[in-house]
């Protein structure tokens, strides 16, 4: 019977996800006509690239989104300032996962699971770096030159970058990636790696307190390859969604919506924790949560402003927008909580701030400060509702709200970007219902791909390594049962 309940939940989830499909297909339809125009435009842009780039490379790096290829890097094109910029952004985004997210999640679980939860972030970091080097960088930022499974190379390129750059074999000290032509590709790979790390690491929040360590590792390897790399390619690697004009400055769809949906599917698939709803599951250490959230905030500057790949005006806008939206979202969550809960809590303010960071992520390089404040004002209440009421209503156990905050916040931010983009801030941005439809297309594709991919991977893990620990192991805690290592001796 239990299996039955589980199955029915999974089906329900699938159904829920399909509800987004119409929106997506609608958007696809709407895009059908302009698409060819846009493709033509893309080509012409590509044609005039050699000329335009030397002139405007710095002025409009985001345009390079659509033009994915490897370029030569010479002493003349190399910019020490921009490379410096991206190296530090890399360090900051790395800090978001280690120790940021590790502590943010580690502090939220019960004490018997803190070591295991933290280990998940650490292990994901290590394993994803190896996968990135071996396979997924090529799939995300490569350019397929030969057909794959009988599909023509240009069609393959819509969804992934192919396998010509496995083990980074085509990368040399003299190459750059077309989106950031003034920066050595080595740094580009490193910076993008930190995104490839934190996205799956976010999903561990939905797995927490019941996942088997070996199962988690297998899941993460497969997910990096089958879900992250293609979605990343579609949006940032010059693939399908980039060509459709989807705006996603720093990862509202690629990182947050993607990991949030994967978290929801995983939470439904794994089922609730033993004792969920009856046992007290208060966070074991809110100070660790605070340290984690703070380092997420600080590091997110490298994530958001860093996504401009140069310390320029757009990066400056992204910086200020990130700070304003985050802080206002902290306030707006707090206010909602004060009203509904009677007292404001530290975990509440911090959750609000993280919600704000998520919402501003796709928008930060496109909107003006007033737009950022609108994002912040909505981020608090919307994510509050999603992480409290909606979760309760639907009854799934997304332990640390991977979906509640990242899924909902990423969705909200992507949509708001369509409404609020200000061309004065970024000439690539543009607001209006047409842009909103494009954003919904981007979200729809991301959600469907992520949900289906995640489900397939979960099934694979379930029947190989296994995914959930035994009841006794869950009771004893993952620290003891998975790692023989506990916090309190």
């Amino acid at each position: 019977m239990k299996t039955w309940i589980k199955l029915s939940r999974v089906v329900a989830a699938a159904a829920a996800l399909l509800l987004t499909a119409p929106a997506a297909s609608l958007a696809v339809a709407q895009e059908a006509a302009p698409a060819s125009a846009s493709a033509a435009a893309t080509e012409s842009v590509a044609a005039s690239e050699a000329v335009s780039e030397s002139a405007t490379a710095e002025a409009a790096p985001a345009a390079a989104h659509i033009l994915a290829s490897q370029k030569e890097l010479t002493a003349a094109t190399l910019s020490n300032a921009n490379t410096t910029y991206l190296i530090f952004c890399t360090a900051m985004v790395l800090m978001m996962t280690l120790p940021g997210l590790a502590l943010f999640y580690g502090g939220m679980v019960r004490k018997k699971n803190i070591v295991a939860t933290v280990t998940q972030s650490v292990a994901v970091t290590c394993i994803v770096a190896v996968v990135w080097w071996a396979i997924s960088y090529s799939m995300a930022f490569g350019t397929a030159a030969s057909p794959f499974l009988g599909i023509a190379a240009d069609k393959v390129n819509l969804f992934m970058g192919g396998f010509d750059n496995l083990f980074l074999k085509a990368v040399t000290p003299a190459t750059a990636y077309s989106a950031a032509p003034t920066i050595p590709e080595y740094t580009w790979i490193s910076y993008q790696l930190t995104f490839a790390i934190i996205t799956p690491a976010l999903i561990t929040g939905a797995f927490a307190e019941r996942v088997k360590f070996s199962g988690l590792l297998l899941f993460m390897i497969l997910w990096s390859i089958l879900v992250y790399a293609p979605i990343c390619h579609m949006v940032w690697g010059g693939g399908y969604l980039a060509q459709k004009g989807v705006l996603d400055f720093a990862g509202g769809a690629v990182v947050h919506c993607n990991s949030g949906v994967a978290g929801l599917v995983s939470a439904l698939f794994l089922g609730r924790r033993k004792g969920y709803g009856t046992e007290a599951m208060a966070p074991n250490n809110v100070i660790f949560i605070m340290i984690g959230a703070s380092l997420l905030f600080v590091g997110w500057i490298g994530f958001n402003a860093g996504s401009e790949w140069a310390g320029d005006t757009i990066a400056s806008a992204a910086l200020l927008n990130t700070m304003l939206c985050t802080c206002l979202a902290g306030v707006s969550w707090k206010v909602v909580e004060w009203v509904f809960r009677g007292k404001p809590s530290l975990v509440g303010i911090l959750s609000g701030m993280v919600a704000g960071l998520v919402v501003i992520t796709p928008a930060c390089g496109f909107v003006n400060p007033m737009g950022a404040m609108i994002c912040g004002l909505l981020a608090g209440p919307v994510c509050y509702i999603s992480a409290t009421w909606v979760k309760k209503l639907l009854g799934y156990d997304d332990s640390l709200d991977a979906f509640g905050i990242h899924g909902a916040g990423g969705f909200l931010g992507a949509v708001l970007t369509g409404f609020l983009a200000d061309p004065a801030v970024n000439s690539l941005g543009h607001a209006g219902m047409d842009q909103v439809m494009k954003q919904l297309l981007g979200l729809g594709v991301t959600i469907v791909w992520s949900a289906i991919g995640t489900l397939i991977i979960l099934v694979i893990c379930k029947f190989t390594t296994g995914l959930r620990v035994s009841e006794a192991d869950e009771e004893a805690g993952l620290d003891a049962s998975q790692h023989d290592e506990v916090l309190d001796h």
């Binding site: 018997k112 004792g275 009856t278 046992e279 007290a280 006794a472 009771e475 003891a480 023989d484 290592e485 506990v486 309190d488 001796h489």
Partner: protein, 119 residues
Amino acid sequence: MVSGEAWVKKIEAIIKPFKLDEVKEALHEVGVSGITVTEAKGFGRQKGHTELYRGAEYVVDFLPKVKLEVVVDDSLAERVVEAIASAAQTGRIGDGKIFILPVEGAVRIRTGERDADAI
């Protein structure tokens, strides 16, 4: 006042930590109005684990337990013991123990009440 006679009993129970909420509920139903709880480590038949840090091995055979202390009237003692025993049971090794000790006197600090009135 220290009567020497033990009309009051102290029930000490060592239980698994995650059973605390259930046991509390059970005691509440029996009519117990006060409980004192301490974190403890237990060593017994239940096996611990071995930790290895860079070659150094530590046998962690003390497992996390929770110790409950309830002082009740003699008449209630048996029911309290049963309530704890049934709420804390999982049937797996390491469920813990209950001990009954005699108490010779009790005081409620707030009011100065003594013995049976105090609990």
